[in-house]
Symmetry: C2
Subunit: 122 residues, 2 copies
DNA sequence: GAAGAGATGAGAACTAATTATCATTATAGC
DNA sequence: GCTATAATGATAATTAGTTCTCATCTCTTC
């Protein structure tokens, strides 16, 4: 059976508090403030398990490396800061984007990414 | 000075003919139909040089690995086929997307990616 | 509180993408 | 055509991200 470890609780808390997509490295860094011994392999294992459980979902943004965010959230998009490289949520969405595809193409999803500098970095 | 080699001409021709973003592997594959001896290192070198010259631009889509496309083209977006993994151009753009950013964020660009199955794969 | 089994942590191993090395080839200018 | 040298191609090396290994630890159950 699956155990409820300090590490896994810490990782879940990190995502709930962050409210934005996190890379495994960011999860490690924030998680170590709760469980200092936390290791990177444990982050990868748990993040993968939580994604398999449907509690997290993968976010692929430019710049390489997967990020993860809480699943089961309302449709939204992302902002990627060119300065600090953090990803943020954008809660608005232009409607009818999926109509833009070329003739004959079948669209089943979309991702909109805004680039710029976040409030902190300006 | 910079030389005009068969390989470089072939690589340029591949991009002009493709009309969509290509990975280095795709460039290699298509380029070898023109210059069979073409090697992967040469593709990387030339693609990088052409991007430095401003003739190509980088496209980062989910799925890892950079793609390149002709620069100096009108604003457009991309469609990524989940089946064959090829990227295609989308020539329409929803206006005013950059207004969607959270308060205090400075937007200087955006990318819209549609996912689904291309005409060929359906 | 003991025992069994899943989870952890440190580092090694792996992977895919990209870049460097270097002997050989081919282009540009004479 | 000849020469100097930039470019090529095969392969090795590097890199960043991720996964594996295994001895040890710690939940859970009894």
């Amino acid at each position: 059976m699956q155990r409820d470890t300090r590490q896994r609780r810490a990782i879940r808390r990190v995502f709930v508090n962050a409210g934005r997509p996190l890379t495994p490295d960011e999860v490690l860094e924030h998680g170590q403030r709760i469980v200092p011994s936390l290791g990177l392999a444990t982050v990868y294992r748990n993040v993968k398990a939580l994604a398999d459980d449907g509690w997290l979902s993968q976010v692929e943004l430019p710049g390489g490396g997967l990020r993860y965010e809480l699943a089961e959230r309302p449709h939204h998009h992302h902002f990627l800061c060119r300065s600090c490289d953090l990803a943020f949520d954008v809660h608005k969405c232009p409607d009818e984007v999926e109509e833009l595809a070329p003739e004959g193409f079948e669209v089943d999803g979309h991702e909109l990414i805004l680039f710029g500098r976040c409030a902190e970095c300006r």
